[in-house]
Symmetry: C2
Subunit: 402 residues, 2 copies
Amino acid sequence: MGGTDQVRSTRRSPATTNGGDMWQNPEGAPKNLASDAIINLDHGDPTMYVPFWKSIGDKCTVVFKGYESLSYFSNPKNPCWFLEPKLEESIKRLHGAVGNAVTDGYSIVVGTGSSQLLQAVLYAVTSHDQANPINVVSAAPYYSSYPEIMDLVKSGLYKWGGDAHGFDKDEPYVELVTSPNNPNGVIRGAVVNRGGILVHDLAYYWPQYTPITSSLDFDVMLFTASKCTGHAGSRIGWALVKDQEVAKKMTKYMEVTTIGVSKESQLRVAKILQVVADGCKRFGSPDGDNFFEFGQKMMAKRWEILRETVKKTQMFTLPKFALQHCTYFGELTQAYPAFAWIKCKEGIEDCEKLFRGHKILTRSGRRFGSDPAFVRGSSLYIMRQHSGWSFISAGAPRNKGL
Amino acid sequence: MGGTDQVRSTRRSPATTNGGDMWQNPEGAPKNLASDAIINLDHGDPTMYVPFWKSIGDKCTVVFKGYESLSYFSNPKNPCWFLEPKLEESIKRLHGAVGNAVTDGYSIVVGTGSSQLLQAVLYAVTSHDQANPINVVSAAPYYSSYPEIMDLVKSGLYKWGGDAHGFDKDEPYVELVTSPNNPNGVIRGAVVNRGGILVHDLAYYWPQYTPITSSLDFDVMLFTASKCTGHAGSRIGWALVKDQEVAKKMTKYMEVTTIGVSKESQLRVAKILQVVADGCKRFGSPDGDNFFEFGQKMMAKRWEILRETVKKTQMFTLPKFALQHCTYFGELTQAYPAFAWIKCKEGIEDCEKLFRGHKILTRSGRRFGSDPAFVRGSSLYIMRQHSGWSFISAGAPRNKGL
């Protein structure tokens, strides 16, 4: 959500769709690039963080014995009875160490990724007695999966209401505020401002992607391990929820739909977040164990290549981000979003088609409620040396060890 | 589902609700029982299998390093792209070794427990173009969570249609066939028989609970690790699906709602199922590594205590099960269901109230679309020595080391 990314027709290969086994290694970088390879920048698989996790050795290793974690229950004393206490503790520690969100006074609800938590929030803030489903809106360009999530089972509780900019109904609504925004990396606030229910999707509000400017304290804040630490395969998201009753109803949703959340994933992510929190204040450490420092450097490098390439082509424009004081790094920093929101120059109406013609898969602006002159390209999945961005300029040589 | 069990108002303590820490150990047996303890047999937490898993040592131990399993993808070549190949292989091996379900020609879809898979099936077999939601029915007594799952978000695709026995509409329908049935352990078939879509919930079709009489080959068959091996905390279910298109749509549902299923849980359950399959043909082994043999002995012991107790009280009746030839054990065996469907003697109208008066929490027959003269009690959560069933006779002494 905001952070996660659903895989559509292109899913058969995470990196390319030429079927070459060379590309079937989602955990590592490809060794070569065939001349007919299709580069898939459609979705954001955060395997780029693998080198960091390799570098820290066994600090994050977890072991499960056959007899452990059989019960449905993690903490019967917690209203969210399937939340592992260690995960709860790590989440609080990490937000404290990063300074990006307040946790005091909040209930934590864990989910199978943050997509499930979004559905849980919608269940929690609506009522079975409503005559009509409540509109759920988000300002365009919005995360392309929101409409699909909202309308999947034609719920009578909620429905996709489209671009928040165009929402003018005098009735209750839910507004999803994705910040930094997927696809364009922009820090956003609510746009409707008529007393609706706000859900803040903060998947990317971490120091490697954007300057941390304050510790947020919105009513409902969603996060996911997928984009925070890159552990997308674990499917762990969490919600910080101010209203206990909302948290309880969210828990109920999780109880009915999946009877809780994988204990193995929770315990593993607990360990990972703890290690990240421990390394948080060690900047420039020779151990190199500040994850966000590593992440930011990597993102900065990718954006440097991307901006250089785009400049050369003279065919595209990219968003610009102002320098801001980041409370985490204690200095002026730049945003390096996980996705690049690329606009074609005047005269090219279908940017996605243009890229596809050059065997680069991106996601059309249309899918985000925006203009087809835009595409979203993943900067998460770009390979370390063989950066997909290198191929943005049409006809760039392939298979040349770039 | 069928196998899993949602936790309601009683959830604050898995075993009892007296708040005593003595009972807050879901992985082990209580050491003592306070005189005012409330015994909770409302739900079925399968921690009774812990001793088996302790006995086999490190055979099932799994280790995850920090850099493993970051990607969303498990197998891009499989339409169910988030299914770990090792889990797929173990599922096939186990069904082959037990002989309870055919896997050749079936697609396997993994879910966050089988509840999610049931929702995925309903999404897969219905259409957005339907004018009205399709009725989903199941013969009473039916699994008490089905109505709640169906109507959770007031879907326009499907709705709970109640007891299948009373379904007489001349229109499409889905019938859930739970076999062995939760709550009463009975082997069942479809009852409507008018060409509807059948979903077989086979959570308990394993040798410790019921004689295996044939290798089933229904269109959609749901299983869960929770009741098969007792690893409920892992939240792993799987569906065997004959129609590839249905499997693809189920995968889509999982993709939109949770973007796949925890890799850690999948890999751990893969190992566990593999060990169970390996031990399957070693009956009476001095190593005692035949899980189903262990499970059946334990269930048989519990049912022996239960039947003795019920006989003494003269207040209740229990279902009777015919001896049948079990192809797994190669002999005549008895059913030992995970739940006991208890009927009060004539004149007692509310069996659940009677039990509650004696501080034993059960689930009323009403919740299963049946008569309040019935209750369902869990035989999974009963403690090893301090069997909850010992307290069925009213006023049985507590805290006596029974």
